[in-house]
């Protein structure tokens, strides 16, 4: 139990400089939540770079009509691998596993998560799942091509190893379930004395909502696995019409899991934004409870909207309008968050620094993601844009713009805390400007292409779509350049950055009240909490500013 670590309070050296730190074994056997977070980061960013290269290849092929570099067969496998890697290995577990692990105990004033050994086990399960996922792609007759959704009966017909792939998703999901349980327990049991549930920083609320979705939604993958296995091995027809099954049932099960998971990806990112805005505005967050509760509302309503992925699949017309109506209700708590964030800027004392640049850019991109989703939620418009490039553009605005850019914002915010070093802020902001340009050139263009009718997952297209596709491809070069510069700037800082002070941004939450980087057990002495999470009285007094009017 974490409390037994209490004896170690008083060790104030960096967690990165513990005596055994030099060797790999000490990392592979660590139960320190901070090191586990960094091990996740190492694995996930490796996968991210692979996924990005595949995405780059997709855009290269689509630069002009006809076949440029890769055949249709290879192209189909490339977009499948891109989706599987990005979704299951990077975005879904990403923010909770990397930043959640590192920051959550610090923000709560705890010395670790509630179950540190289980936390390490979760990392190993993740690695096993990731390896299974990659292996499943290459055994059994070659690389699969069904897209990351693996719809029946196409994916079931092909020789590729669908059972192993679903098994891998379940193993990965199991890692998420354990991490989620660990976080829920940590939040309920290990908050510093004086910190109520509504005294937690909002990043913790985002992780809390996400953890519940992980725990409740992931078992559906297990159910699907059982059904797929029974169909494959016992010949009982669930999904394959040749055996008397219904392919649409597979789509239901797939989206009952995969739609709530969309919110798994984005809720922690919203938490990050809720940390950054007050810190750089030097004022309390506007509407704390509304932001916290809207996370929970999104988590709950998010369970009930999966059918909007299937408006053309042949569900009954009643089911379609019910799902459409429910989908629109998810938009409301999302809007509430955006308005509260804007109100947090109002009459603040705003310092425009790198993390804020990322956070504001995030609000811009995610707003586009959310707003373009409205046309997917409305029935008649969705019929036209469903399965077109519009949907691809829309979900990249939400998943890449929402989840991944949110993670980048968080990395820039907490990097000085994690490594005790500052990165070059000018390069960080410059790289992000490049990212914004490239991003909108690709995905904004895809929105237009989809409106004009270009279907998704097309290796070749009619000449009328040529110009826009060319623009999107040029955008991909710009985007990748920006990302690489951004990552280089961060990695370079680990060794060569200037030493970071304990609280470089003037933030108020507990992680900034310990050293940068923190000691092994986080705090020299266990903190107690007497104010709300965003109380700037002390920061303002230190800065010599009078009490806010």
């Amino acid at each position: 139990m974490a409390d037994s670590h209490g004896a170690a309070y008083g060790y104030t050296g960096s967690y990165l400089k513990t005596p055994s730190n030099g060797n790999l074994w000490s990392w592979l056997t660590t139960v320190d939540h901070k090191k586990i977070g960094l091990m996740y980061a190492a694995a996930m960013f490796t996968f991210f770079l692979v996924g990005m290269s595949l995405g780059f290849l997709i855009r290269l092929e689509l630069m002009e009509p006809g076949t440029q570099f890769i055949s249709a067969k290879v192209y189909n496998s490339v977009f499948t691998l891109h989706g599987v890697i990005m979704i299951f290995l990077f975005i879904v577990p990403g923010i909770p596993a990397i930043l959640g692990n590192f920051i959550l105990p610090l923000q709560l004033g705890a010395d670790d998560v509630a179950m540190p050994k289980l936390n390490l086990l979760s990392w190993y399960i993740y690695m096993v799942g990731a390896i299974m996922a990659l292996v499943s792609l290459f055994v059994g007759g070659g690389v699969p091509d069904g897209g990351w959704t693996f719809y029946a009966p196409y994916a079931l017909k092909s020789d590729t190893n669908i059972s192993l792939a679903v098994m891998a998703a379940f193993v990965l999901g199991f890692s998420s379930i354990l991490t989620g349980m660990n976080f829920i327990t940590t939040i309920h049991r290990l908050r510093a004395p004086g910190m109520g549930m509504f005294g937690m920083p909002l990043f913790c609320w985002g992780l809390y909502a996400t953890s519940w979705i992980q725990v409740i939604a992931t078992p559906v993958v297990g159910i699907t696995l059982v059904l797929v296995t029974m169909e494959r091995w016992l010949g009982i027809g669930f999904f394959d019409p040749a055996l008397g099954g219904d392919p649409v049932l597979y789509q239901h099960l797939f989206w009952i899991y995969s739609h709530p998971v969309v919110y798994v990806m984005v809720l922690p990112a919203m938490g990050i934004i809720s940390e950054i805005l007050p810190a750089f505005s030097r004022r309390t967050i506007f509407g704390y409870k509304a932001i916290a509760m809207s996370s929970m509302a999104i988590a709950v309503v998010g369970y009930l909207v999966w059918g909007h992925h299937m408006f053309t699949a042949g569900m009954s017309d009643t089911a379609r309008w019910v799902f459409s109506l429910l989908t629109f209700f998810v938009a409301v708590p999302t809007g509430v968050k955006i308005f509260n964030w804007l109100a947090t800027l109002y009459r603040g004392s705003i310092e425009f620094r790198a993390p804020l640049a990322y956070a504001l850019g995030w609000i811009f991109l995610f707003s586009i993601g959310g707003l373009t989703g409205l046309a997917n939620g409305a029935l008649s418009t969705d019929i036209h844009i469903h399965d077109t490039a519009y949907v691809v553009g829309h979900f990249h605005y939400t998943m890449f713009g929402g989840a991944a850019i949110g993670m980048f914002a968080g990395l820039h915010y907490w990097w000085p805390k994690i490594w005790g070093r500052m990165y070059n802020e000018k390069i960080a902001i410059g790289a992000f400007a490049v990212i914004l340009v490239g991003f909108n050139m690709i995905y904004g263009t895809m929105l237009v292409l989809g409106m004009k009718g270009m279907p998704r997952r097309y290796q070749d297209y009619l000449p009328e779509y040529a110009n826009l596709n060319f623009i999107a491809t040029v955008g991909s070069w710009i985007l990748v350049t920006g990302i690489l510069v951004m990552l280089y700037n961060l990695v370079r800082a680990i060794k060569h950055g200037k030493k970071a002070p304990d609280n470089p941004w003037g933030s108020t939450t507990l992680e900034w009240k310990t050293t940068s980087p923190p000691p092994l057990f986080n705090f020299a002495e266990a903190p107690t909490v007497t104010t709300g999470p965003y109380d700037f009285t002390e920061i303002l007094r230190e800065a010599g500013v009078e009490e806010g009017r």
Binding site: A72, K73, P153, Y154, D159, P241, G245, D246, P247, V248, S281, R282, T284, F286, G287, Y288, K289, T312, G314, R320, S324, F328, F329, V332, G335, V336, I338, A343, L345, Y346, R347, G348, S349, I350, L356, L360, F364, I368, L371, A375, G377, A378, L379, S380, T381, D382, H386, D387, G453, P455, R457, Y458, Y461, L462, F536, L540, A543, V545, G548, R549
Partner: protein, 299 residues
């Protein structure tokens, strides 16, 4: 892109309302951020106001967006309802998706690989698939509905303008998904009646190969697609895999017939398994004979 169906205007109105509102909101959010970041910059505004919240504002920006999205829902539903109410007098056409081509069959049994329709008349589509899920998509009509094997989905439209409109497959269906294209040809009703009335007799020769979807995978000019080319195939000696064991056979009538009924039984070496649906229920006996005759002639 201009709409060309009776309900495309309704869909476009919903688009204009939803996207228009969205653009306004996005501009508002973005301008608000920029203005506040400039106006309240620390050098000019060192002393922040600690405002914790406002019940009035929270209520306002919960209720107003709720009303707004309900209006959007209504717009979406209104257009959708028209799409789903199939008029009783609509002319039925059976649309069959197969890897990787479309076949359209009219009430009188006439088959076509392009969807010829009379402008201004209601057309009802019975959507079928013989293998995997396809999705019948005509962007100009704002029409899309999946062809799901084992299900019998329906759709309808009324073309409002003469012209040619793209048909795409919108649900991923395999290697040549992006080549699964066709056209709607909307022509004046009188011409249509003439066209439909001409009984072409049972499809013959190369036309049969197209309608049955053979040519989506088997070329007639010697090029390699998904399956072996038909050019010069009759009479040659091929290496096939029977239960995984390689053996040599001569491509004769018996072999071709068996390959149609059990495509994977004697699979030509080097070609993928499991892609071709058994044709027993799809191709009639006399059509098989006709196909064999065509292959004999394809030198």
């Amino acid at each position: 892109m201009n709409g060309a169906s009776s309900y495309s205007g309704l869909v476009d109105n919903a688009f204009i309302f939803i996207l228009g509102t969205s653009v306004l909101l996005l501009i508002g959010v973005t301008l608000a951020m920029i203005i506040m970041v400039v106006k309240y910059r620390r050098s000019k505004h060192p002393n922040p106001a600690q405002i914790e919240g406002s019940v009035t504002l929270e209520t306002l920006w919960t209720v107003l967006p709720t009303i707004l999205v309900l209006v959007m829902f209504y717009y979406g539903w209104a257009g959708f309802k028209v799409m789903r109410d199939i008029p009783d007098d609509a002319m039925p056409v059976t649309v069959t998706g197969q890897m990787w081509s479309w076949v359209f069959e009219y009430e009188n049994g006439k088959q076509s690989t392009e969807l010829i329709v009379p402008t201004g008349r209601n057309v009802k589509l019975n959507l079928e698939s013989v293998d995997v899920i396809h999705s019948f998509f005509v962007p100009a009509f704002r029409l899309k509905e999946d062809c799901v094997p084992g299900r019998h989905n329906k759709a309808w439209f009324k073309s409002t303008r003469d012209g040619e409109y793209n048909i795409f497959c919108a649900e991923y269906c395999g290697e040549r998904h992006s080549a699964m294209l066709s056209l709607v040809k909307s022509i004046p009703p009188r011409e249509f009646d003439e066209w439909l009335g001409v009984d072409p007799g049972p499809p013959e020769g190369a036309q049969l190969l197209t309608i049955k979807g053979c040519t989506a995978c088997h070329s007639l000019d010697g090029s390699k697609l998904i399956g072996p080319t038909f050019k010069g195939v009759f009479g040659i000696t091929e290496t096939v895999l029977t239960d995984g064991v390689a053996r040599e056979i001569v491509v004769d009538e018996e072999y071709i017939r068996k390959s149609m009924l059990e495509p994977d039984a004697d699979l030509v070496e080097g070609y993928p398994k499991g892609l071709m649906p058994p044709q027993g229920t799809l191709v009639k006996d006399e059509e098989m004979d006709a196909i064999i005759e065509v292959l004999k002639e394809l030198k």
